[in-house]
Symmetry: C2
Subunit: 180 residues, 2 copies
Amino acid sequence: MTYFADTIKNAIRTVPDWPQPGVQFRDITTVLQDRTTFRKLIDAFVHRYHGHEIDAVAAVDARGFIIGSALAYELNAGLVLVRKKGKLPFHSLVEDYKLEYGTASVELHEDAFKPGDRVVLVDDLIATGGTMLAAARLIRRVGADIVEVAAMIDLPDLGGSDKLRAEDLNVYTVCSFEGD
Amino acid sequence: MTYFADTIKNAIRTVPDWPQPGVQFRDITTVLQDRTTFRKLIDAFVHRYHGHEIDAVAAVDARGFIIGSALAYELNAGLVLVRKKGKLPFHSLVEDYKLEYGTASVELHEDAFKPGDRVVLVDDLIATGGTMLAAARLIRRVGADIVEVAAMIDLPDLGGSDKLRAEDLNVYTVCSFEGD
């Protein structure tokens, strides 16, 4: 890991047994509320995609908006929201994905991209990868080109980043927690 | 209104009868997905608060994160999340507020600010002002100083911005829709 990745990882607060016993929750609010680590976090993404002619950053509801907004602004790109079901008011495409119990859905406005737009898809964390994969499918359905899928944290033991790579998606994460 | 305010207002898409009959929903995704209007939107806030020694931007879940993140980055400030109930993992304060039917709650981590921090509180829209007022109360409870409450859209007929001013809060909105 690079120096800034280490700094960011060390600033993440681990909350044991939340939201349920046995889960080590990685709380990113401690990174965000410190102006120095927040800036390093956003800069990690800005430096990676600057100069790569990104047309739009697609951000996953809701913590993905945090990275997505500052990144889109810095890249002089548009910001597209991938939202949970029932949040987008205009004509939308839907993708369902499996949760541990049941299913969930994400939605995308049909007119969110222009065909061929070069897109970075961002969220805060990749765990099982279900949300990210559903979001990536939505973006591909409207004809945009996903340059990379990016997150702050990877939990590689849950297999999400490998699952995304198996779908021909490039994956970038700033830091990872193994053994989760 | 200034030139950029007019540009932003014209880029907002009005979706009639969503989420229920009689409501004119102001859809900001059309502003965000266009790189030019997205940049103008964020710049409206950056220019207003630049040089005012803002320590932190507090952003309301979830669309407030969009303005809050890019603004905090540009001001070199921290970003603090005011979240819906049950989303924050650490010790939190809670404020309830009334909805048309029933109540809702917002939460803030107890350690989100340092006492005396100068804060801008942001969301996308001020309607009845219930969420913003609850968020402002949380921030005051932990001893931070709210420099201003800011939103992209004001719906002044619903009385929210007046209600916030009655609580000694400065209010800034980029554009407004009357007759809603």
